[in-house]
Amino acid sequence: MKDLLRFITCGSVDDGKSTLIGHILYDSKLLYADQERALALESKVGSRNGEIDYSLLLDGLTEEREQGITIDVAYRYFTTDVRSFIVADTPGHEEYTRNMAVGASFADLAVILVDAAKGVLIQTRRHARICSVMGIRYFVFAVNKMDLVNYDKAVFNRIENEIGKLAKELDLKNIKVIPVSATEGDNVAHLTDTMKWYNGESLLSYLENIDVDAASEEEGFYMPVQRVSRPDHTYRGFQGQIETGRLATGDEIFVLPGNEKAHVTEIYTGDKSENEAAAGQAVSIRLDREIDISRGSVIYKDTNIKITDNVTATILWMDDAPLHSGDNYFVKIGTRLIPGIVSKILYTIDVNTGKYRETDVLQKNEIAVCRISFTDRICAACFKDHKTLGELILVDRIRFATSACGVIEGIGEGSSLVNGKVNARTREACMGQHGVSILFKGYEGFTLMFAENVEKKLILEGRHTYLLSEDKDMSVGEIKKLLYHLNSAGIVVILTVNRAEDIRELTGNEKNMIVYENEDRDIDEAVSFIKKLSSYDYESAGEALYI
């Protein structure tokens, strides 16, 4: 049976990477006839004056075809006699960097296009850097458009040199440089005699033969637990995919975070009970002892995996909203999702030049090294040691957007709490309540008495409160300022106000200000209203943050 190679192609707008892939598919007779017909038809109305435009094969969204650019990753599938391939064709525009990163995270190898007439450009450096950050270990640089430089060996050698320097700078270990012409098909699927001075393989032949597993071997065995299966009280199976190594029945394993020991009694691969299973396989494991295992636990042996509450990671920021030191997010590592804080942005790395810069804010498509702290100790590893436990994403806690992805470079020893920045959300998590202001309107004395009773009951029921009644010496502006600070401290403020215009001004645009209307002045009802309003959603926010 054939194996599978997943690779990515990167290049700039005019580098012709869609054309390159189109050509591989076309030359290898891997296109279905009706796709070919559709292509010929579309090309006639397209931009290349009736010649076949191979890029139309790949740009699948209406808007992409209209604009003639690639916006999102497209996946293509082809098989040769030697190997099966999945290729992720990714956009080259800086604006769509995050979509390129999606493709890179999927691939074992990157094909980076370099225009022979232009050499290594800023975007070439960006593409190589992002692929490298996302953990790709094999690189092919296809020096394209050799036909436009008269297939000149000297031009190729000069570019090969530039690539060598780039590889050194980015510490790329496995690189291959191939001169090609995507439109003419030179050295793409076959070697042609236009570049007799080139002694290597064609691009396709290289892709067919490269062994990408050599560099990805990891120590020992480990498996993050996806799910605990309990169809009845007699069966308890731990489902997951083996990330590395082998496991056999009878083996002694350890389980994090508790680091308890047990022996494997049964291994299911699918619906078959087997004596042994290996990396890549989806399994269900049974153990000889009842130990504490849930989703997010990691089963391992013959290697060292730690639990930690903080890591240092290189992240790519993918969100339109910027990241600030101290912002908090959900972090997903392996099969564990947990609240966490980007406690410090250490420095950004310019995607184009590689220069470091200190900052407290990270914008979309920027790369930075950050310290991230979690609310609990979880299993994590350095990406270079254990790939799967070294990958992470950050998820926005309100919009649920996938805001960043990153790889772990360092595992924190001890506690992260020293460096953590505290903000309103952290304080709310610690207080277990939301800081809100509730405005009671009405006649001063009577309203105040009612408010005092409500506050007393709230305190008895565990809320942190403050009663603020309108004061002649305080301007509305000052009250607003005070409320802002109290709410940021996570305090529930009860405010009594009498004057209609003050009420109007106070309730104007304040998102934390709620007017409570209750003519009966029923204390229990008011208390339950305020409790509901300020109740902290542990379900969506996770456990209270350890700060």
Binding site: D72, D213, D271, A278, E391, I393, F400, C405
Partner: protein, 301 residues
């Protein structure tokens, strides 16, 4: 690490991983079941993924009432054989209004498939729905994420897809939103057939060539599955040895002449196929290129 997984085994492992992630993280999943070969593969993988537990979600078939009889029979037998929960939903409003594939063209697909699906997902309160879609089927599918988000109107926004990194799927949803999950995203039609052979999976007999009554219409062979089939002038019912590459509503599904009666025959035929599979689906050719993308934005699966 010795012995690398084969191409098919790594695709299977990926699909199992995805199904387990959904079962673990999503509140109320459902698996769409269309009775076709991809659904047979999905069901087979779901049974393996959770074994010895049954798949921890129900299966849902959208019945337009125009499916081949053999498909319905196969669906009911399959549900019984594996003891899975099979839900069937039909847009009763559409049936009442006599919506049919002969008179209503593309609005038939919209009402009996897209709208019916939306009704069923909404009524069931499903937050995640598995589908058997593959990226090799169509150009806009080639762009779709494995976890594909739908807004409250169940529409797809291709320009605003969540980045999907490694296998760290983000399944968080707001109220009213849902996810379509495609565990077979990275499979090709050939992979499906080879896997069916490797795993010995039951499929609807319509995939194998047999003598069937059909008429030639717009260059395709349409099977006369019951007496609701309306013949056009000059059309004559003939008996031909035909089979189907995809299955759907019988008046809209083109068969072709073939002698392939075993899986090996089918694989041999598929490997040398010169037409990609959706050409036998009449609906995809409705309104030119980009029509699948448009339908998906409107909530088609």
């Amino acid at each position: 690490m010795n012995g690398k997984l084969t191409h098919l085994d790594s695709l299977e492992a990926e699909a199992i991983y995805i199904m387990r992630e959904v079962a673990a993280e999503c509140e109320k999943p459902v698996m769409l079941y269309s009775i076709g070969k991809d659904s047979s593969v999905m069901l087979h993988i779901a049974l393996k993924a959770f074994y010895p537990e049954k798949p921890p979600f129900p299966f849902l078939h959208i019945d337009t009432t125009w499916k081949f009889k053999e498909m319905i029979k196969f669906r009911d037998e399959t549900a019984k054989k594996y003891g899975i929960e099979m839900l069937v939903h039909t847009n009763e409003e559409g049936v009442k209004n006599g919506i049919n594939p002969f008179d209503h063209g593309s609005s038939y697909t919209d009402i009996m498939k897209t709208q019916a699906l939306r009704q069923a997902l909404k009524a069931g309160g499903y937050t995640a729905a598995f589908g058997g879609g593959r990226r090799d089927e169509e150009k806009s599918r080639a762009k779709e994420r494995i976890f594909s988000f739908r807004n409250e109107a169940q529409g797809w926004d291709p320009k605003n897809q969540r980045p999907e990194m490694w296998k760290l799927y983000n399944t968080r949803l707001h109220k009213g939103e849902s996810i379509r999950v495609f565990p077979l995203s990275n499979w090709t039609e050939k992979d499906i057939w080879q896997y069916i052979r490797q795993e010995n999976i039951d499929i609807v007999p319509l995939y194998f060539a047999a003598e069937r009554p059909c008429v030639e219409r717009d260059g395709q062979l349409i099977m006369v599955d019951d007496d609701r089939m309306r013949l056009r002038e000059g059309e004559e019912v003939q008996i031909k040895k035909i089979r189907f590459r995809t299955l759907g509503c019988y008046p809209l599904t083109g068969g072709f002449e073939s002698n392939a009666v075993t899986l090996d025959d089918i694989i041999a035929e598929t490997l040398s196929a010169v037409e990609s599979e959706r050409t036998t689906r009449v609906i995809d050719k409705d309104s030119g290129d980009g029509s699948m993308e448009r339908r998906k934005k409107e909530g088609y699966f």
